[in-house]
């Protein structure tokens, strides 16, 4: 009986030990599982494989990066992927803003909850189910083309379908931070703006948006990075198109060329780091 309080006393008397025990599991997770795998990725990119047996040969060289640079198709794929990521982010931001604004500022408390559940609901369903549902939508005989037919439009599998599907998949990740950001805007600020004679549009442009930037960037980090790494949606609704993820998958699993796949995987990492650095310059990260 005496033992327990004494042990408890040790932790009580040594706050640093307490802190260390508390923080070491998550730090180990971050350090070992996350950063080490990134480091291994980077190192592997400088090795090469035996072209026949596909065993990795640990010879240091820059061939992978040189190929990445010299072969046009990888540049095309990178630019295409970037475009898709930008479009998905813009589409999501445009759709998410009115929804988030309505939820945070207009709807009653009860409706607020209902809408929040409605926004989160798609996250309960599997990614694949949703992607295949869109595959059925975009099919030549599917509901979307049935509806578009009278106005003479046809939307088959391809880049547009990919952007729409990805924008649908990542929409909750844009709405949630925007909603949280807008909730923080006091109603009195909006009222003050109206009292001073600003119309709705001016209030949104000059008052709401500047406060909303950090939330918008937070959301865009999700939509942008999730799109950069995605390779499944484009396989399901993208027709013959491919994104960086597909090229990585093909080199690693089809070509058994792990070093080249690693070099290729560095591309989205670098893009993301550049994007984060750019976001940081705007100061948006300070307010997260």
């Amino acid at each position: 009986m005496q033992d327990v309080p004494r042990k408890r006393g040790v932790l009580h008397r040594h706050p640093r030990l307490r802190l260390g025990l508390l923080l070491s599991p998550p730090m180990l997770w971050l350090g070992v599982a996350y950063l080490t795998s990134l480091a291994v990725l980077l190192i592997t990119a400088f090795w090469t494989t035996n072209t026949f047996t596909t065993e990795i040969e640990r010879v240091w060289n820059l061939d992978n990066f040189r190929q990445l640079w010299n072969i046009d198709v990888y540049r095309t794929i990178t630019i295409r992927t970037l475009w898709i990521a930008v479009l998905v982010t813009v589409v999501d931001a445009l759709i998410a803003f009115p929804i988030a604004f309505f939820m945070a500022k207009v709807a009653s408390r009860r409706w607020q909850r209902v809408l929040l559940i409605a926004v989160l609901m798609p996250l309960w369903a599997s990614y694949l189910v949703k992607a295949y549902a869109w595959r059925a939508m975009f099919s030549g005989t599917g509901p979307l083309n049935w509806a578009l037919d009278p106005i003479g439009l046809h939307l088959g599998y391809g880049l547009t379908a990919t952007v729409i599907t990805l924008a649908y998949l990542w929409l909750p990740y844009m709405i949630l931070p925007m909603y949280a950001g807008l909730e923080r805007v006091p109603d009195s600020v909006l009222e003050a703006s109206a009292d001073l004679g600003a119309k709705g549009g001016t209030t949104i442009r000059r008052v709401v948006l500047p406060i909303l930037w950090p939330a918008l960037f937070a959301g865009s980090i999700f939509t942008f990075s999730l799109t950069l790494g995605d390779y499944i949606t484009v396989k399901i609704v993208g027709g013959t198109n491919q994104m960086i993820g597909n090229a990585v998958y093909d080199s690693a699993l089809t070509g058994n060329n792990l070093p080249f796949a690693a070099a290729l995987a560095c591309v989205p990492v670098v893009i993301m780091l550049v994007y984060l650095a750019a976001v940081r310059r705007t100061g948006a990260l300070d307010n997260l």
């Binding site: 047996t53 072969i71 030549g140 491919q242 058994n256 670098v270």
Partner: protein
């Protein structure tokens, strides 16, 4: 905030590395295999068969190890089977290296890579009693043997067929020009092709028949010029392709919805398409086609080799071989399986029809040493095919 700064530093480092990569010397064009002839690692072969170890770990193509015939095998031999299905030949080559599996079903585009890497060992066919019944034209082939030594037991084979929707495709095509030639433009956006570097061989086969100047003798032995020609043809074809398929369900649904009307397929998919939704027909064109011939192989690192041999013998036994061939949709390797298969099955799949089998160019692994025996030129290897395939898709 500090973490963000570290990230920025890392970004700078990353960017530097990339820039550095861009301006390195560009003299070498080395290939580690350098046209050397292929000698497999010297591995011992099993001399005698002992008692089963009580367990076996099977690495197989989807559909090759189903309960229906695995359970009777377990009961008869006492080898408790664990089954892992792989998706592509390339997955199989990776997985077998782990040493977790005892026996693997390898297609010809994987088998040589496994042999060269020492992942699988020579097989003593005397220890597999059912081997004597296997069709002779499946024995001692370039994809399952090296220098006359068998590395596995033939399991079954099939051809990549040309399938079309009879309602939409008129007149009925007779060869691959409907997907590679000018006719393909008639079905723009509704043509399909197999999503794998090995599909380059299909283009090469078409060129072999239509462009004799290129002097292609074996669609798996392409020098740089021949590969370039195949890639150019595939890029031209891509304009008409709606989507590429790699899994069976995707192609089946694309034909059923009418999004795809013509392209390459497997018999099993052709049979699976619901005739109420799409009236399809699938043929092996007279000009030939690519195809697969699968082989069961024993992993070098296996700890259950007796059970692995027992499995190889069981899976080509008439009853099991019939069951697996019908389940997957391919020709069995054991003629006696036809007695157990459904009536007419062996005719549909042309089992044992040597003339039909001769029209099939079985999947093989392209290597730097030309498979067609040319010595004066270096051929393109599978990694080059993989990159070429990425380029085709653009």
């Amino acid at each position: 905030m500090r973490s963000v700064r570290t990230l920025a530093t890392a970004a700078a480092v990353g960017a530097m590395i990339l820039t550095f990569g861009g301006c390195g010397s560009s003299d070498d064009n080395k290939s580690s295999n350098g046209g050397a002839t292929f000698t497999p690692p010297d591995l011992p072969m099993k001399k005698s068969l002992g008692k089963g170890e009580g367990a076996v770990s099977i690495l197989a193509w989807a559909g090759y190890a189903e309960k229906e015939w695995v359970t009777p095998f377990e009961k008869a031999t006492g080898c408790k089977a664990t089954v892992k299905y792989f998706n592509t030949s390339d997955d199989a080559v990776n997985l077998i290296k782990s040493g977790d599996y005892d026996v693997v079903s390898a297609s010809g585009d994987a088998s040589l890579r496994m042999i060269a890497a020492g992942s699988v060992e020579p097989v003593n066919t005397d220890l597999v009693p059912n081997y004597k019944d296997v069709y002779p034209f499946l024995k001692d082939r370039p994809w399952n043997s090296v220098n006359g030594q068998m590395y596995g037991i033939p399991h079954g084979y099939g051809a990549n067929l040309l399938m079309w929707n009879k309602k939409d495709v008129n007149p009925a095509p007779t060869d691959w020009s409907v997907v590679f030639g000018p006719d393909a433009a008639k079905y723009k956006g509704k043509v399909t092709a197999y999503d794998s570097p090995i599909y380059i061989a299909d283009a090469a086969l078409y060129l072999m028949n239509t462009k004799p100047d290129l002097k292609i003798k074996d669609p798996y032995a392409l020098d740089q010029k021949q590969l370039d020609a195949a890639v150019a043809l595939l890029k031209e074809q891509k304009k008409n392709v709606g989507e590429y398929w790699s899994d069976y369900a995707k192609e089946q649904s694309a034909f059923e919805t009418g999004d795809t009307v013509v392209g390459t397929t497997w018999q099993v998919i052709a049979s699976a398409v619901d005739p109420k939704k799409a009236d399809v027909e699938a043929i092996l064109p007279d000009s030939g086609s690519t195809g697969w011939s699968d082989t069961w192989m024993v992993a070098t690192k296996s700890k259950h080799k007796n059970c692995a041999y027992l499995w190889m013998n069981d899976i080509i036994s008439p009853k099991a071989n019939a069951a697996v061939a019908q389940y997957f949709g391919e020709s069995p390797s054991n003629p006696k399986a036809c007695e157990f298969a459904a009536k007419g099955f062996c005719d549909t799949y042309h089992a044992g029809d040597a003339a039909y089998a001769a029209k099939i160019h079985y999947w093989n692994t392209p290597t730097a040493a030309c498979l067609d025996g040319r010595k004066n030129v270096k051929c393109t290897d599978y990694q080059q095919w993989t990159q070429a395939w990425t380029e085709v898709k653009g």
